[in-house]
């Protein structure tokens, strides 16, 4: 069975995402992919997909219309949205799937106290993967349709999953409790002056509005470098916190460049990355230094929690 959808409003910045691409950073392509893989995974689970892809939107989301067929859809995140079903408008619920028919609509209003949200459809999207991934990076033009963001009135076709049902979760992901981000020492930790390092861990930093999916620019107490503010360019990774000469840290996010020449004071632990990337600009964040063991245990705990959430799926 087939279905066709139309983005009658593309939203502020909506892209197709999956887990991204591995084994290409040595030729200049970073992994990329969904900012919050867990929300994407849950979305795919709710519509009965064996991990396909999701539409990732930020702040003010898109309006999607079903043009043809019948397809299940789920919105994941902390999102204010409406569903137009049989010409009746109802308030949408995140973390459940809806089966929608021709002329029905998903109207995303906005994300609540967060940045990213996901819309996932039940079926195979009719696009060819690029380097084994559907992920789109509009800046580097990598991905299907040259990695472009979704355009107004753009259409997508799906081969719809058989035996569609509506599902919900009995356990939802926890709401963000605080803005404390745990860090590991970075490879150039010792480049920085002791007092500055103390300030870095003891004072809050503001997420500035010049933040996007490549990097989060922070503003706060200046970090003084006692060696050099330029290193021989080396590979950078998601979550690395680099400090340029002006002493204001930048956290590299999902679509970071592949190499960089600024020293890195610290790296965000994987377990806290999704929490970090969901915090909107103008918010304050604080840091805490932890050891490798804690980082690993926290990550494993997160993965276990995600499995439990996914397993809590029940038919409506």
């Amino acid at each position: 069975m087939k279905a066709k959808i139309k983005f009658s409003n593309p939203g502020m910045l909506t892209t197709i995402q999956d887990y991204g691409r591995n084994h290409l950073q040595d030729i200049g392509i970073s992994k990329g992919g969904a900012a919050l893989p867990s929300l994407m995974e849950i979305g795919n689970e709710l519509v009965g997909n064996k991990m396909q892809c999701s539409f990732e939107f930020i702040f003010n989301g898109p309006v999607v219309e079903i043009i043809e067929g019948e397809i299940s859809v789920a919105v994941t995140g902390h999102v204010n949205f409406e569903i137009l079903k049989n010409h009746k408008l109802e308030k949408g619920t995140c973390f459940r799937s809806y089966i929608l028919k021709k002329d029905d609509q998903i109207i995303i209003k906005n994300t609540i106290d967060s940045v990213y949200g996901y819309i996932t459809f039940g079926g195979n999207i009719q696009l060819s993967k690029v380097f084994d991934s559907f992920s789109c990076n509009p800046r580097s033009k990598i991905g299907p349709r040259d990695g472009a963001k979704i355009k107004k009135d753009e259409l997508f076709d799906f081969n719809v999953n058989e035996n569609q049902s509506e599902y919900k979760l009995t356990r939802e992901p926890d709401k963000q409790s605080n803005n404390k981000i745990r860090l590991l020492e970075g490879p150039q930790f010792h480049f920085f002056e002791k007092r500055s390092v103390q300030n870095f861990f003891n004072n809050p930093y503001e997420i500035t509005t010049t933040t996007d999916k490549m990097g989060m620019r922070l503003s706060g107490s200046k970090i003084e470098n006692q060696l050099t503010s330029n290193i021989k360019s080396e590979a950078i990774i998601k979550g690395a916190i680099q400090v340029p000469a002006d002493g204001q840290p930048i956290i590299l996010l999902t679509d970071h460049q592949t190499i960089g020449g600024y020293p890195k004071i610290a790296v965000v632990i994987s377990a806290d990355f999704e929490k970090l990337i969901q915090i909107p600009p103008k918010s304050m964040i604080t840091f805490k230094k932890v050891n490798y063991k804690e980082a690993q245990v926290s990550y494993e705990l997160n993965q276990k929690t995600l499995k439990n959430i996914i397993n809590s799926k029940i038919q409506i």
């Binding site: 591995n22 084994h23 290409l24 950073q25 040595d26 030729i27 200049g28 392509i29 992994k31 690029v130 380097f131 580097s140 033009k141 990598i142 991905g143 040259d146 590991l184 970075g186 490879p187 021989k232 360019s233 080396e234 590979a235 990774i237 998601k238 979550g239 690395a240 460049q257 592949t258 190499i259 790296v267 965000v268 632990i269 994987s270 490798y292 980082a295 690993q296 990550y299 494993e300 993965q303």
Partner: protein
């Protein structure tokens, strides 16, 4: 050969090969890079997401769901004891370049900076066999060295908003080529009609770390002919 091994976040390890940008150091990096790729492929070691060489470092990125830090250290200890064979033959690549002033828009400025005349600048550039230290910054962008010190120049004070794809650029001891249109502050000396990166090809990038690159001067007519066949006939 490997001077230091550092944890880099909880899912990466950084190998440090020394402080300088030197071909000898980078060849060690590339050797370990290739060796690791080979071992991982032959033994089907799971969970390695990326191995990323740069001038003097190598980063191994892994997936904590599939492997653990201990296993990465074990993997490193295998290559650590390997004898370096620098006998792997570098691939040689010849890049056609047109130095017409409409493409080499900074050549006249470089005449003033270097105190060489136009012909001498071109001749010096053509004479150099470049070594590819690494790829990065954007897909397929090669960092090549070492440029003759006579051609030394600094970055522009104000970077340009857009530079054409194919532009051949120099700064300090480096030479590079833009695979895409992009902002940039390096000095533009010419343009190649070759496509450095094409996501629709199975081998998307023309140049790889460790390759040797030399340039061949072509006329504007030759340039346009190759450009059309590369950019207009296919995706």
């Amino acid at each position: 050969m490997i001077k230091n091994i550092l944890e880099y976040g909880d899912q990466s390890v950084l190998l440090d090969f020394g402080d300088e940008i030197k071909k000898e150091i980078n060849q060690n990096v590339i050797f370990v890079f290739k060796k690791l790729k080979q071992i991982i492929k032959e033994n089907k070691i799971p969970g390695i997401q990326n191995i990323i060489p740069s001038y003097n470092k190598l980063v191994i990125q892994f997936d904590l769901n599939l492997t653990k830090l201990d296993q990465i250290h074990q993997l490193i200890s295998i290559v650590k004891n390997e004898k370096i064979e620098i006998n792997f033959k570098p691939k040689k690549i010849e890049i056609p370049i047109c130095y017409n002033l409409e493409y080499g828009i900074d050549l006249e400025r470089l005449v003033q900076i270097t105190k060489l005349n136009l012909e001498e600048i071109i001749e010096t550039h053509l004479k150099t066999n470049f070594y590819v230290y690494m790829l990065g910054f954007m897909p397929g962008f090669p960092y090549m060295g070492d440029l003759d010190p006579k051609l030394y120049s600094k970055r522009l004070t104000t970077p340009r908003v857009e530079i054409d794809e194919g532009s051949v650029i120099i700064v300090e001891e480096f030479c590079a080529i833009y695979p895409y249109k992009s902002p940039g502050g390096w000095n533009i000396i010419g343009k190649t009609p070759l496509r450095l990166f094409n996501q629709n090809h199975s081998n998307p990038n023309l140049i790889n770390p460790g390759d040797e690159v030399s340039f061949k001067k072509i006329t504007k007519n030759e340039f346009l002919k190759i450009w059309r066949s590369n950019y207009e006939s296919q995706n």
